[in-house]
Every structure is written in structure tokens, then in C-alpha cells.
Amino acid sequence: MSEARRVRATRWGLVLAFLALIEIIPRLGLVNPIALVPLSEMVWQLWLLLKDGTLADHILRTLTSIVAAGALAVVTGLPLGVALWRLETTRRILQPYLTTYYAIPIFAFYPLFIAIFGLGSMPVIIIAWAWAVVAIVLQTVIGLDAVPPVLVKVGRSLRLSSWRMFTRIYFPAATPHIFTGFKLAASYTVIGVIASEFIQAEKGVGFFVGFSYNNFAIQNMYAAILLILVFAVALNSGLLALERKLYGRQG
């Protein structure tokens, strides 16, 4: 077996071992049955919840918030990133704030947003957007900064307009970095939505986890957590596959 295959096999092995442990530990009575339920029961419970429609509303709400916050992060993050890249001085002023941004526990401001926007999707979307957008801004600036000067010279030697310099040289050269920003933003959006729903909301999968926990519905709670995990992993794998397809041959 080649080195790469051994690594891959071991990696999957770890996942399977972990899943097996979750199944076995509660069955052997090694933990309190209200702390952890076996994996098979989680799966079964999730199936029941999906079938009887209990989760439908929550899933719809969560997905809507994720899509809204993610889309908002892209359409605001990209232009902000480009503007910041162009505006040397503004950027020098904002630099320290941007680099320490992710040190701020932004969820601490969640009550404030609820107070302003009321207890609906709005504060959730705002938090998730705020958590995700800066990743796109930063990656856009980094990507545009990293464009090799010689590629810019090629454009200038052809006397391209500034619009074409941007659309035909800077932007395509920066897209691999910007895509990294999108990937980060996708994860941050999911975290932002689920976490704020969990803290305080009237609907959503995150809310459902918290609600079940508070009402000792431990099987429901684990079923919802499982759903979130599967969704997050699927989203990430999807984006990775897309990245490979788009940029895999560009090195």
C-alpha cells in the first residue's frame, strides 16, 4: 500500500472508530444514559424527526438564514475587499482592527442585535454575516496583493484599461485566494447561524438543539446535532470539490 493510501485509510479508520465508540460506550453503560445515546439511536431519531416533519420548519429557517448571511457576506465582502486594496491609507488605518477582528467574541453583541432587530431571522443573519464577511474581505485583499507584478506588467504592456486590468488580470489571478475566503465564510456563516439560534431564537436547528437540551429530550438533541454535523461536512466537502474542479489545474 502506498504512503498516501495508508494515510487515507487511517483517516477513515479514525472516523469509523470514533463512530463505533459513540455506539458502544453508551451501550456498555460506561456513561450516564442521559448524557450520550448510541449513534444508531441518533440516526433513528433523526429519521423519525425528519419523517414526521418536526424539523422541517427549523431546517427551512436555518437554511434561509445561512443562505441569506452567506450571500450577503459575498456581495458586501468582495467590493469591500477590492476597495480596501485600492485605498492604501484607509487600509493602513484599518489594518490592526482587521487583523485582530477574529479575536473579538462577536456573539457577545448578539443581545444588542436582538434588541435592535427583534427576535427573528434578522439578528441571526447579521451576526453570521458579521462573522463571515471579514474573512472574504481579508482574503480578497491578500489575493489582490499577491498578484505577481510581472502579470500586471503583461497587461500594461498591452495598454489595457484599468477596468480590463482588474477583470482580466487582478481578479482572475486573485480568485484562488478569494475562494479560500468563500470557504472560510461558509463555515463561519454556519457557525454564526447555529450558535446564535442556540443562544436565543424562536426557530432553527440550533434553537432545536438548545430547546431539546433544556427539556431533557436528549435523543432529539443528538439527532439535531448529527444533522448539523452532516450538513457542515457536506457543505465543506462540496466546496472543496468545487475548488478542485475550478482551480485544481492552475496549481
Binding site: 506588467k153 503583461v154 504592456s157 482572475p172 496549481g251
Partner: protein, 249 residues
């Protein structure tokens, strides 16, 4: 004259890169520039290409020069054919025509069959040929080439030099060619400009008496060896000065 440079100087801050360079290049001529590292060759070329403003002096170039840069410059997000067609696309040549012209040029630089590959899927020398094809396809009156084969081994660069000679004969382009290799300069050029250490000025212009057409077998000609020795004689002192200058800084 396709290119006239008069009393050109360029200073970056307190670094004087080029000092009082004058040069005239005739249509169809192949002129090489050799000189120690850091003497201002790339700077001179970028001024001629209109990418840098000179501090003093005058340049007169006919048409828009095509440039092949010292660094690798193929666009990684475009396939070979898309790279080569880039300039044509930007100047509004229709799709069918630019693809045909790009394909012909790819064939000419020996990259036939690699049209749909991305640059990372090619070797360094092949990537450099993509950049050369992208410039040649524009049919510029004057082509500026800054050590286009610099990253390659001596054998490959002589073979590519041969190809370049052939292409130039077919297109009758004027070429200003920067190189570190005397063999390359003697194989390709009509005249060889030897520059001094920084600030770069013209030390001497050597007219290449070797008969055309030449191919890479010429390196074993005794006359070739003599000329190579002459160039080295001219450049040795400058290269030592350049090194001493760098240490002194």
C-alpha cells in the same frame, strides 16, 4: 530606425540604474544586451516598453513593442491557447480568427498538442514558450525579450534560440534581447551591446561577423570561440566591479 534611444537615464530614489544610454536599432535587426547582474538591463527594457518613465532622455519606438519578461508570465488561469490568444482578445480580434492564429503560433513554438493544458502542467521551458508565443502572435514590429531562456539549461536555451532565429527570419521582426549567455548572444544577434556595472552605460557595441543563417552547431566554430573570449574580456572587469559594489553596500 524602429527604435531610437537618446541619452536615457533612470534613477530609483538614490539608486542610479541606467546612465546616459543611446542606441538605435534598425528594422529586422537582432540586438543583444549583455551586462553584469543589476546593471539596469531590465530597467532599460521596461523604459523602452513604456512601463517605466525615464528620469531623463528620449525614446522613439514604432508601434507597441511586444515584451517577453524575465519572470514567468503565463497566466495560470488560462490554458495554453487562451494564454496565447490573450493579446488578440484584448485588441478585439474575433474568436475564430484569434484561435486560428494562436494555434498556428503554438505550432510554431513547438507546443502543438498542448493547446488545452494549463501552465502548471507544462515544464518551465514550455511555459516560457507560451509567453513567447503570446507576444509573437501580436506580430509586434519590435520584440523586447528579457532573458527569456534564463531559467533553462544551456542546451535547451540554444535549441530554443535556434527556434527563435527561425521564427524571426519568417516574421522579419526586430528584436532587442537581454541575455547572460555569450553563446546565445553570438548565435542570435547582429550586434551585441555590452553594458558596464551599475549605473549601466554602454561599454561597447560588438558587431557579430558570423554569417547567417546560423544554427547551434556554430558554437564549435573557432571564430565563435574567439568572439566569445572577446566578450568575456569586456565583461569580466564589469562583473567584478558589480560584485565588489554589491559587497560594498
Amino acid at each position: 530606425m524602429v527604435l531610437t534611444v537618446e541619452h536615457l537615464s533612470k534613477t530609483f530614489g538614490d539608486v542610479e540604474a541606467v546612465r546616459d544610454v543611446s542606441l538605435a536599432v534598425d528594422e529586422g535587426e537582432f540586438v543583444s544586451i549583455v551586462g553584469p547582474s543589476g546593471c539596469g538591463k531590465s530597467t532599460l527594457m521596461e523604459i523602452v516598453g513604456g512601463l517605466i518613465e525615464p528620469t531623463a532622455g528620449r525614446i522613439d519606438v514604432s508601434g507597441m513593442p511586444g515584451i517577453v519578461f524575465q519572470q514567468e508570465s503565463a497566466f495560470p488561469w488560462r490554458t495554453v491557447v487562451e494564454n496565447v490568444a490573450f493579446g488578440l482578445e484584448m485588441t478585439g480580434v474575433g474568436k475564430a480568427e484569434r484561435l486560428t492564429r494562436a494555434r498556428d503560433m503554438i505550432e510554431l513554438v513547438g507546443l502543438g498538442g498542448f493547446e488545452d493544458r494549463y501552465p502548471t502542467e507544462l515544464s518551465g521551458g514550455m511555459r516560457q514558450r507560451v509567453a513567447i508565443a503570446r507576444t509573437l502572435v501580436m506580430e509586434p514590429k519590435i520584440i523586447l525579450m528579457d532573458e527569456p531562456f534564463g531559467a533553462l539549461d544551456e542546451q535547451t536555451r540554444l535549441i530554443l534560440g535556434e527556434e527563435l532565429s527561425r521564427i524571426r527570419e519568417a516574421t522579419n521582426a526586430t528584436v532587442l534581447f537581454i541575455t547572460h549567455s555569450f553563446d546565445e548572444a553570438l548565435l542570435l544577434s547582429d550586434r551585441i551591446v555590452v553594458m558596464t556595472a551599475r549605473p549601466g552605460t554602454i561599454k561597447q557595441v560588438v558587431v557579430n561577423p558570423l554569417p547567417r543563417p546560423r544554427d547551434s552547431t556554430i558554437v564549435s566554430d573557432p571564430e565563435f570561440g574567439r568572439l566569445s573570449g572577446e566578450l568575456w574580456e569586456l565583461l569580466r572587469e564589469e562583473s567584478m566591479r558589480a560584485l565588489a559594489g554589491e559587497r560594498g553596500r
